[in-house]
């Protein structure tokens, strides 16, 4: 049976004024006020049909951050909202959490909304952890007795019991975030809206947060809206996806298909090559780098690098595949296979390859390193980003999709 809709957005738009506000615009403001409020005309400064594309200069200084958005969210659903920076995700959340109002259209809601656009909103540094739990809880819409009833649970979840009567200004940033999330996670609302707040805190705590959010949506039947750039988290947590692009809903539906669609779209944003455009060059440096093969899970990967040097040197070269936050995953390093290159002064071209790319589909950051005997000559920590396409680790095997673990390996199995 189809679940009842708890959020229904109808023709919701939000326009922002860009550039300077409030200088030399008094007459214009009055003009606008008279036309829109008194004469009920359309806003003359909102040009119809202009989309929110930052890279293109528009004709007016109003810009649509969201444009005629329609959607329905069913009760108990976990919805992931994805899209590039500036696609309107945060604006949508702001509208839903009533921080700002829509320019046109309306959103109808059933039940209480608790929104978490930031952890620790309203924490006061001078107050103790306990006092801040009450303050923060009240800001998020909880009644005092609700908080009191959950106090032990909140303190327990936060794991800062020992410091609970210390002013939060003495907390480490990690403790601060833990406490703040703990309060938010225990909100008693029918709808929970979470912006990318999980980017803070250590891995263990992130996991705990995601787990808690999973409980909220799956176990307690509450509706969760979640914005993230972390596709793995979105896929893990959500059943439905909404993909926003330039303020419009490009695709919505089951989360897997939306995420796939998003990654395909994003492909254009990823490179397969790197060119060093630095103005000050090192004596020996990487001029360019390129993947010369398809970048696909389980497929051979080959690449070519151009090195420019002022003199003859022995060198080693490494390509690092990293997570988007540049935390390392694995490295293709010539030193590991005992290889050194004698490069001449001028340009030298080196090629390399691996038989099977051992990472799951998704986007990764690539680092390039050039050195000798462990001494660095040139290094680009996040040279460019790549998108690894879905593939099978063994020829003809099943297509592997990212399931949380980034690295994949061949394996042998037998029943004894």
């Amino acid at each position: 049976m189809k679940q009842q809709a708890v959020i229904k957005a109808e023709m919701v738009s939000k326009a922002y004024q860009i550039g300077q506000i409030g200088t030399g615009t008094v007459t214009r403001d009055i003009d606008r006020f008279v036309r829109t409020r008194l004469l009920k005309q359309e806003d003359p400064f909102l040009k119809i049909g202009e989309t929110n594309d930052r890279s293109v200069k528009g004709a007016s200084n109003m810009v649509w951050s969201l444009r005629d958005i329609n959607f329905e969210i069913a009760q108990g659903d976990a919805v992931g909202i994805i899209g590039k920076n500036g696609a309107g995700k945060s604006t949508l959340l702001k509208l839903l959490s009533r921080v700002t109002g829509p320019t046109t259209g309306e959103i109808k809601v059933k039940g209480r909304i608790a929104s978490l656009l930031e952890v620790g909103t309203g924490f006061h540094p001078e107050l103790t952890g306990r006092e801040n739990i009450f303050l923060n809880g009240a800001i998020l819409g909880m009644r005092k007795r609700e908080i009191a009833a959950k106090l032990d649970e909140i303190i327990d979840f936060s794991g800062v019991e020992r410091y609970i009567d210390t002013p939060v200004k003495r907390y480490s940033s990690g403790m601060y975030v833990r406490l703040a999330f703990a309060v938010a996670a225990h909100l008693e609302s029918e709808i929970l809206i979470v912006d990318e707040v999980l980017a803070v805190g250590d891995a263990e705590f992130q996991k705990k947060c995601l787990g808690k959010m999973g409980d909220i949506s799956k176990g307690e039947g509450r509706t969760v809206l979640f914005v993230s750039h972390n596709m793995a988290a979105v896929q893990n947590l959500c059943h439905t996806g909404i993909f926003l692009q330039h303020g419009l809903i490009t695709k919505s539906g089951p989360v897997a298909s939306v995420v796939d669609f998003y990654l395909d779209q994003e492909l254009s944003a990823f490179d397969t090559s790197f060119v060093n455009v630095a103005t000050t060059k090192l004596p020996t440096y990487i001029k360019s780098f390129e993947f010369t093969s398809d970048i696909r899970t389980g497929s051979p990967l080959s690449f070519e690098v151009e090195i420019i040097s002022d003199k003859v040197r022995d060198t080693e070269f490494a390509v690092g595949i990293r997570m988007n936050d540049t935390s390392p995953i694995f490295q293709i390093y010539s030193g590991h296979v005992g290889k050194e290159f004698r490069i001449n002064s001028g340009t030298t071209r080196i090629t390399g390859s691996i038989p099977k790319l051992p990472v799951m589909s998704g986007n990764y950051s690539v680092s390039l390193w050039l050195g000798h005997s462990g001494i660095q000559l040139d290094f680009h920590k996040s040279a460019f980003s790549i998108l690894v396409k879905e593939g099978a680790i063994v020829t003809g095997g099943p297509i592997s999709t990212r399931n949380g673990f980034p690295v994949i390996t061949e394996s042998n199995w037998s029943v004894q």
């Binding site: 922002y16 109002g101 059933k110 006061h124 001078e126 009450f134 009240a138 819409g141």
Partner: protein, 288 residues
């Protein structure tokens, strides 16, 4: 399961414009705990890491009274209506300070809280209301100071001649608070886009004190400038301060018409303030 709900019920409809007179008091009531929390926060954070703690509430009026007694009382020789000078000034200062604090703090509420307002929704009116309440605590502490002074002067032989006027003291506080709140709400709503007014408030409130009968009695104006006294009577704070002083010290020009005027003025300003404030709160995050 009912097969087809005819008219769907929605708890909340978020849209761009709401009715002018939707004052959202129900919402404010629902968040009353938050207001208490804010008051508590303001109070606790005021004296945290100080040695004298809440005693600081006393120090400011005492010093101001001393200075005023010296400057206006002794050097300038302004009349105090037969009331002992320190008592006269302290009485005026505490009341005025309450009004001025309500007005000043409320008038920057959007700017001061832009960050928190930009991240989470609660009825914005909670914030100015909590300011009024926090200042009320401070005011109450200062009233005890006034009472201490009064006891001292009573034993010095000053006769206060208490009347039934003391009974309207709570009412005076409410009027002062609401007036400060109302003006503050209007100003804060208008400063979200144009900051100019904020500068005016800073020294305007200070100047207004001299336009109100804080450091001189209205009777002195009546004596010296009878033709200009209407200007002072137009100031809604004048009847309030005068009545306040009459209630406590038994001197002052107490008139029902003056009080009625102050009430009407306050009611109009407050209503306008809340309406403007509520209209601004919806989108101010985009412009501040």
């Amino acid at each position: 399961m009912d097969p087809k709900p005819k008219e769907e019920h929605w708890d909340l409809v978020i849209k761009g414009h709401s009715s002018l007179f939707d004052l959202k008091f129900a919402d404010v009531w629902r968040y009353r705990d938050l207001m208490v929390m804010f008051v508590k926060r303001d109070f606790i954070s005021f004296y945290k890491q100080t040695i004298l703690g809440p005693l600081w509430f006393f120090i400011q009026p005492i010093f101001t009274t001393l200075v005023f007694t010296f400057v206006f009382g002794s050097v300038a020789g302004i009349s105090s209506d037969g009331v002992p000078k320190p008592l006269f000034y302290l009485c005026g200062i505490t009341a005025w300070q309450y009004f001025a604090d309500c007005l000043n703090k409320t008038s920057t509420v959007f700017r001061d809280n832009a960050r928190i307002f930009g991240k989470v929704y609660f009825p914005r009116l909670i914030m100015p209301l909590s300011i009024v309440m926090s200042n009320l605590i401070k005011f109450a502490v200062q009233i005890t100071l006034l009472l201490i002074f009064m006891v001292y002067f009573y034993f010095q032989g000053y006769d206060f001649g208490f009347t039934y006027a003391l009974l309207i003291f709570p009412f005076l506080i409410v009027i002062m608070a609401l007036l400060g709140l109302g003006i503050g709400l209007i100003i804060t709503a208008m400063t979200t886009k144009y900051r100019d007014l904020a500068f005016l408030v800073g020294f305007g409130v200070q100047l207004l004190m001299y336009g109100t009968t804080v450091i001189y009695p209205l009777s002195a104006v009546r004596e010296k400038y009878p033709e200009y006294v209407w200007i002072f009577e137009l100031n809604p704070m004048t009847p309030i301060i005068e009545t306040y002083r009459y209630a406590f010290l038994g001197s002052g020009s107490y008139s029902v018409s003056g009080l009625l005027y102050a009430c009407t003025f306050t009611a109009v300003v407050l209503l306008a303030g809340i309406i403007i404030f509520n209209r601004t709160e919806k989108n101010f995050v985009d412009t501040i």
